[in-house]
Amino acid sequence: MTPGAGETKRAAALPPGVSRGEDAADWPPDLRRCDVVVIGSGAGGMTAAAELAEAGFDVVVVEEGGYRETGDFTAEPSQMVSSLYRDGGATMALGNPPILYQEGRTVGGSTVINGGMSWRTPERVLEDWHRRSGVDRIRMRDMEPYFDRVERRIHVSHQDEESIGRDSELLRLGAERKGWDVIPNLRGQLHCPGSNNCAFGCPTGAKQSALVSYLPRALHFGARVISGLRVTRILRDGKRAVGIEGKVAGPRRARRAQKLEIRADLVILAAGATQSPALLTRSGFRAPSRQLGRNLSLHPNAKVVAVYDEDVRGWEGVHQAYQVREFEDEGLLFAAINLPPGVLAMSVPRYGAELGELLQDYARTLVAGVLVEDTSVGRLLTGPGGWPLATYQLGDRDAHQIVRGVRLLCDLLLESGARRILPPFEGVGEIRDRADLDALDPRRIPKSAMEVVTVHLMGTARMGKDRSEAVCDSFGWVYDSDRLMICDASLFPSPIGVNPAETVQALATRNAQHAIETWTER
């Protein structure tokens, strides 16, 4: 049954090893003690938890979101976004333009709603982290075993031919006609049949999100997971982290605002790039470098909507089968992404009859995106009540790159037969032929006219050798604290220009290994 608007629905029964926060609140004290408590069950947290559980540690993972499983996922965006996304997917980074950003809040974290693209960190980025930030054991030869391991677990592979839809083929065709480099995407998937529902949870179980890969593995090796428990504070004894305090999250909060403490010998923070710095701040940890919350990068993303004369039926075929890499050195990537009609209707700057006219062509519509490797940096402030507040001022270079990327992408789409294209800039009309491309002039489009979104937040607790410049050391240990390690996207010293989940997972594996190796020293 698909719940109608406003209805509530009991989600799946929980697998053994997963408990709800309100049930865990009744656990006896011995169950509320463990070797390692991991905050957050996403790309970083679940990976670290599985590795540590396999190494024999008693691991408890605490996750704010609820537990949903494959059978719960449907093509009903508003229902899915309400239950799988933080803040209903409507959070903004303040600046000019304001940037909508999205993060998962569910067991499995953002991997449950991500596109499954899985790429190694580019070698040039790892070299840069080594040279400029002094990060140890981070060069490609050091990282390869971790990438291999993650790729094995989440089955990183190319798509089966039959799963590729017309939208991706049109993107490839346009790139080939332009003579541009276009490559098949690598995804963490096992025979994904191309249902194109990745952003609302994979309804076939093919996407190897943490929910169907690292979670079952962690549970198999004895980890426990508590869902629906928001960590409010990391408990400390001086500089040493000694556990967490959490509050039962979710709809019952009003009736039973229970608190729960878990004591542990090691605290792993993997709440993601917006929540981790806020949690450290509200727990009283101060980075000597004063860099906590700074250096936010977010791969700004802009989308164009192209209409063809032929049927595209973007929902029939995998999400982003190809990536155009021709401009990778300039920090630009292009891909075809399908948006359901509701999400498309929500995001295009039209309403009423005009919107209806555009959407009538929905089956002939292709949506494509430009991802920019940013040079601007934002900041994560901790607002009233300890809530994170992101600010990000798009720099001139990045704004220029967004317009340039959109122009190149429109050119590609015209080449593959697009009849009309809507660029993501207020006040710029439709692109119907090459002459219209002149309207896409970076000097004439103000930042305030740009519709920019992101799903890649990084860098707010960066690692580095120098404690006066970084928040954590090379293996995620938080400077000026003890027994506190970070294993999420906040570790990145810089943006990476490709999809970040595999980098997060490889770093979490490497950090977990370091924790195991140094356990007795602690």
Binding site: K9, D87, H191, S195, P216, P251, P349
Partner: protein, 176 residues
Amino acid sequence: MTAGAEWPARRHLPARIRKLLESLARVVCPPEAAELGLEPGIVARVETVLAALPGPMRAGLFAGLAAYEAGALLDPAHRGKPASALSPAQAEAYFQRWWTSRLLLRRELAKNAKGLLCLACYEMPEMKEALNYTPEAWIARAKTRRLARYAPEVRAHEAALAKPDPLPVFNSQRES
């Protein structure tokens, strides 16, 4: 086994907000939606989405909607009617003024209200059918095809997830 957590609970919209949203749906959604009488269903879906928003964001949106409703009273041409009671032509013109306003907050309110209502509108089965948008059927076929062709590999991968493969451990020194 413990039962799973509930989906976000229903939090009812105040009647005046519901009434305003229904009137706004007639302006921002394509005309077919009103012809099919979908406004109550659309607003019920918006209610679900709003339930997931954090309190301050929800409160901000409600305050904006209240300002929109009351703002219409200030226009003498409306003869003392709030936004939700305007004639279709007046409602359209009033919304357009907010949509193109110089004030960022007004533009943002118009954009957000339109976004929420249009998202919900195109999730209504009637609207999906009109677009020939049939994701559920496609998903069901895709799922069946995958299992028919690849079940042994899927099972083998699931089994491999439970196989020991511990991380090699070397000695290393902590930097800090």
